[in-house]
């Protein structure tokens, strides 16, 4: 594994950790960080989030991660899982 890739993975890991922490705080989730699987669906059967949470996630992405979602399709894709949101934030950071 080269250094660039290792740094990238470390950055991704750090971002994931930060995102989960902010989610627990802002969404008032009664869970520990290690109880949130980044690939579990956020809504319905997975974490069980609702439409109020969806708005909270949009606010969190904008305020804490500087990411504003433009289209509904993009939002639906990114807000499926925690990893989906991490990918979106990384994409935006790279594009900037």
């Amino acid at each position: 594994m080269n250094d660039a890739l290792r740094a990238r993975l470390a950055a991704r890991e750090a971002l994931l950790e930060q995102l989960v922490e902010v989610m627990i705080r802002d969404l008032d989730l009664d869970r520990e960080p290690d109880e949130i699987d980044p690939d579990t669906p956020l809504f319905a059967t997975g974490l069980g989030l609702d439409s109020v949470d969806a708005v909270e996630l949009l606010v969190m992405l904008e305020v804490d991660f500087g990411v504003k979602l433009d289209g509904e399709a993009e939002g639906r894709r990114a807000l499926r899982t925690v990893n989906g949101m991490v990918d979106l934030i990384l994409d935006r950071q790279e594009a900037a």
């Binding site: 802002d26 008032d28 989730l29 009664d30 109020v52 708005v55 606010v59 305020v63």
Partner: protein
């Protein structure tokens, strides 16, 4: 009591207002009559990060120093000082208009969402400034606060606890409130035009009062008579009204039946009419449901298009506006209403100037976050109010009791909402306490959906306030709708209404020690006067902030709930009485006169509104008659007699 008593319908004997047109009802009426609009650019705070830049603000000359002067740190006391200033001006004007003699006991019931600085500080400071000696109460149901407050104000007069009650509303517009509405997407970029093409509301601020008195007082002017009052909860959503309008229809139908009137008696409706798509559509459906074809035949106006949405002051300010217009033989206009939205009222009083219209009976409606709907029915000055017999007071069954008790340190240690089957997420401790107490009070029993809930809570949940401040530190963009919706005192009552399917009367009062017992009296009066409501729940709570001293043995948190209905048997509420603060002896004499001799239980030191209800719950399980009484020096004295029954 064998003699037939006459029902007390409060006369409106004086009015006063501070609005974006300036201080005084004359300024308000002049602005209206000249066809002006009080909405303009916001200069008090920086709206640049937001999507809206207009509001109806009270002129700085009236409010005094407020907002940020360049280079100076914001004065944290300035908003409260400004709110006190405008509230005192409006209240004083109403008292002067009523020519209230100096030796008369005057009470104050204030509807507001301004709750900074502890238990109803705004009301207390206004009462102190005016040297009032009667009971003081704050009602806080967000944008319906001052219309909700009509019920408690009337009860104070009926109880003989005051000769005159100053009933009003006051709210200042702050950046936080402005930003919160903006983030909810509820604001209109241009001055709002309710029921018309322009969607969204425009915020405002102000203070307004009516002086209320019984018919026997010899002073005052003749502005009108409060004949009916009704409230109902949507039990639908935290911020969005029930689109079917059923909640508003229940509130208005209750108010009409309280007034002894039919839909065809209504001559004019002053609508809540915020201008938002959800409110206006739901409100019109509600008016159609309650008034039937009459809704299509009478003028309806929404003055938020002129004065902005003044939040907790809206009901009182709209009432004063309406009374001023009616005095001039007109009804107020709705500005910016050029083309109606689909499903809008047939006759919105459009245009810039008041329209000549003979008005006998007025309906005024307000609604709010937390599913609150309120309506008042008022007889105009031309109508001789009817003399009606007062309903006979019957004892009521204490049908259920619930408590969430603190430990020895005054704090609730372990309340597992999840184990109780109650939602735990986004449930602050205060809401959790009342939800768990209400759940216990309901027990396994069936609950009729006409049941209502009155909540007493001295302050916003400290946990919610902390979360809100944490968000603010991250910037205005972090004020999400969910956190903003929880910053209203009646959020907990709204949550409980949804959880337990309580569609009946609703109110939330901010009060200290006497609050819990007052809410019980308010519920008992409602059940005495309103046969449509099967039962009432009364809940009280307080949540201690983190780090408040443990050695203050009067500081407690927790919850209490009492369920009342008209069924026979069980423990019973036999008598109730209210007196001005410091005059507990008067309240005790009054309850003993109603229900015979009984000894008061030893008073508790606690300042919290649920403490007397805990005492009541313990006494209800012991056979015999017990007096529960409390005297709150900054509220009122209340006494009740119950008859206990072995469980």
């Amino acid at each position: 009591m064998t003699e037939t008593r006459t029902r007390l319908d409060p006369r409106i004997i004086g009015v006063g207002a501070v609005s974006a047109f300036g201080a005084g009802r004359a300024a308000l009426w002049r602005g209206l009559a000249e066809g002006r609009c009080a909405i303009g650019p916001v200069r008090r705070f920086d709206t640049a990060p937001l999507g809206t830049h207009i509001a109806a603000l009270v002129p700085p000359a009236v409010l005094g120093p407020l907002g940020s002067t360049a280079g100076e740190p914001p004065d944290k006391e300035a908003p409260t000082a400004a709110a006190v200033r405008m509230t005192v001006i409006a209240a004083r004007e109403a008292l002067a208009d009523a020519a209230v003699p100096a030796d008369v006991t005057v009470g104050l019931v204030l509807g507001t969402s301004h709750l900074e600085g502890g238990v109803h500080r705004l009301a207390r400071r206004v009462a102190a400034a005016l040297e009032l000696t009667g009971p003081v109460l704050t009602v806080s149901t967000a944008c319906a606060s001052s219309t909700s407050a009509l019920g408690p104000a009337r009860d104070l007069l009926r109880a003989g606890a005051a000769d005159v009650v100053l009933l009003g509303g006051a709210d200042l517009l702050t950046l936080e409130i402005f930003a919160g509405f903006d983030r909810l997407g509820l604001l209109c970029a241009e001055p709002c035009g309710p029921f018309g093409e322009r969607e969204g509301t425009t915020l405002g601020e102000g203070a307004a009062f009516v002086a209320l008195a019984g018919p026997t007082q010899a002073f005052g002017r003749r502005w009108g008579t409060l004949l009916g009052h009704g409230t109902a909860n949507d039990a639908w959503h935290a911020t969005t009204p029930d689109p079917t309008g059923k909640g508003l229809a229940r509130a208005l139908s209750a108010a009409l039946s309280d007034a002894g009137l039919a839909a065809d008696d209504v001559d004019y409706v002053n609508a809540h009419g915020t201008g938002t798509r959800a409110n206006d559509a739901s409100e019109w459906r509600g008016l159609q449901r309650a008034l039937g074809p009459r809704a299509e035949a009478i003028p309806i106006s929404a003055t938020k298009s002129i004065l902005g949405h003044t939040q907790g002051a809206a009901g009182a300010l709209e009432l004063v506006t309406t009374l001023c217009a009616i005095e001039a033989g007109t009804v107020p206009p709705t500005r910016n209403h050029h083309r109606p939205r689909p499903h809008a009222p047939r006759d919105v009083v459009s245009g810039d100037r008041p329209r000549p219209h003979p008005t006998g009976h007025i309906v005024s409606c307000n609604a709010a976050f937390g599913g609150v709907n309120t309506a008042a029915v008022i007889a105009g000055p031309q109508i001789e109010p009817p003399t009606r017999p007062a309903p006979r007071r019957q004892s009521l069954r204490i049908a259920g009791l619930g408590a969430v008790m603190p430990g020895a340190n005054g704090r609730v240690a372990d309340l597992d909402l999840r184990a109780l089957g109650l939602p735990a997420r986004r449930t602050d401790p205060a809401t959790g306490f009342i939800a768990a107490a209400v759940q216990r009070a309901i027990g396994d029993g069936e609950i009729d959906p006409s049941t209502g809930l009155f909540v007493v809570q001295p302050r916003l949940s400290p946990q919610v306030v902390r979360a809100f401040e944490g968000r603010l530190e991250r910037g205005l963009a972090a004020l999400s709708p969910a956190i903003f919706a929880r910053m209203v005192l009646n959020a907990g009552a709204g949550t409980c209404a949804r959880l337990f399917d309580l569609h009946g009367p609703t109110s939330t009062m901010a009060a200290g020690a006497a609050g819990g017992l007052f809410a019980l009296v308010h519920a008992a009066e409602l059940l005495t006067h309103d046969p449509q409501t099967a039962g009432m729940l009364v809940a009280a709570t307080d949540e201690l902030p983190e780090g408040s001293p443990d050695d203050d043995d009067a500081a407690v948190e927790g919850g209490a709930a009492v369920r009342l209905d008209r069924h026979p048997g069980g423990a019973r509420l036999l008598a109730w009485a209210i007196a001005p603060p410091g005059r507990l002896a008067q309240a005790l004499a009054d309850v003993r006169a109603q229900a015979g001799p009984a000894e008061p239980l030893p008073p508790r030191r606690a300042r919290a509104p649920m403490a007397p209800l805990w005492q009541l719950a313990a006494a209800a399980a012991r056979p015999g008659r017990h007096i529960i009484a409390v005297d709150d020096p900054v509220g009122m004295a209340v006494a009740v007699i119950i008859r206990g029954a072995a469980p």
